[in-house]
Symmetry: C2
DNA sequence: CCGGGAATCTAGGCATTGACAAGTTGGGCC
DNA sequence: GGCCCAACTTGTCAATGCCTAGATTCCCGG
């Protein structure tokens, strides 16, 4: 009796990657299991490792995909508006909408941070982010390092992290974008 | 031949907790192993579970200890100065100096966030943090939720997280406190 | 002094996991 | 048609978390 599925999956790499994002969204990186992903994709327990080397290799691919998604999100937000506040809100929205990617990206101990693909994707995202920041710092005279950009990034990144971990006090409502806008406005629009 | 060590360890709970902090500092939460902690403490592989129930129970204790340490740090910083900038810098210093605790505290999926001990400790830290924030918001009229406090917390929390994950661009130097002070000053001291 | 219950710790086992090695299948290229 | 190689399977091993049963020691009341 031949199995229902063909011997070759066809696009197992993408299937495992998608399954990984699903599993990460459900349970977080701590409970991620290569064997579970293999079961979800309907392949043998060692098939995923063939495409990604090991667990860290899989998470490297997730991180690279995440950085590329973030770069796309930030550039799109920038082209839509000149207000950096909106770019910051887009950053928070990315974190909430792509929680799985976000949680992996900023945990370099889980993957291979020096991988060329992930390094290139991270650079794309950094360029997009600092490009958006430039509008804030353009009017000021400062050192090489755009401290205002670091501050803005820290603010939205910290807000996103705290929001995802349910560390923020209740009363901010349940709309992360609106809350992020209100909080970020305190820094970006000082009278 | 009797074993060198007595049957009862004496203070195994504290020993395992300390070993856990060491292991977390070395390798992070992902590679933490109860059996490794047992080996470090020189006890059988199941002894730690007796004191903490399971792995999540151990991390609950780590988180509680961390929140208490943070509360101590913040209250001490507040009594030393009236400038909230220093409290923010103290927050970053805590994250860098107690990386193991910090990384567990803000990952509630790793432990039991509703545990009474950890909830009480978290409340202590929150009180200390918002007490320090009050000096910033006192002059402003605002809603119940101190948005400026959330913004300040987000800023220092995000900076600490990005610093720990080596996500910040080079050129900030290697002193996290000095860098944090420079970055936070952009928000806290707007002309 | 001592007896028994309770707390602490040991020993063994089971299911799951990540990683590795070796074999099998099938598509594409000459 | 035949061959090569990537894709996938099967089997195995050490390590881990958690569970249960049992051994040892402490403590406290009499």
């Amino acid at each position: 009796m031949p199995p229902d599925r063909p011997y070759h999956h066809g696009d197992l790499r993408q299937a495992v990657l998608a399954a990984a994002v699903d599993a990460l969204t459900e349970s977080g990186p701590a409970r991620l299991s290569l064997r579970d992903l293999a079961r979800r994709a309907g392949v043998s327990h060692a098939a995923p490792a063939h495409h990604f080397g090991d667990k860290a290799g899989l998470l490297t691919a997730v991180a690279a995909e995440g950085y590329n998604l973030l770069a796309d999100t930030l550039t799109a937000a920038q082209q839509r508006t000149a207000d950096f506040l909106d770019v910051g809100v887009a950053y928070v929205r990315f974190a909430v909408d792509h929680r799985a990617h976000f949680e992996v990206m900023f945990r370099p101990d889980l993957y291979h941070p020096d991988d060329p693909a992930v390094a290139a994707a991270r650079q794309r995202a950094a360029d997009a982010l600092y490009g958006g920041v430039r509008s804030v710092t353009a009017t000021r005279r400062g050192p090489d390092i755009p401290l205002a950009g670091i501050a803005a990034w820290s603010l939205v990144h910290g807000f996103a992290t705290l929001w995802l971990n349910h560390a923020l006090p209740p009363g901010l409502g349940d709309d992360p974008q609106a809350a992020a806008r209100a909080v970020a406005a305190i820094m970006f629009r000082t009278p």
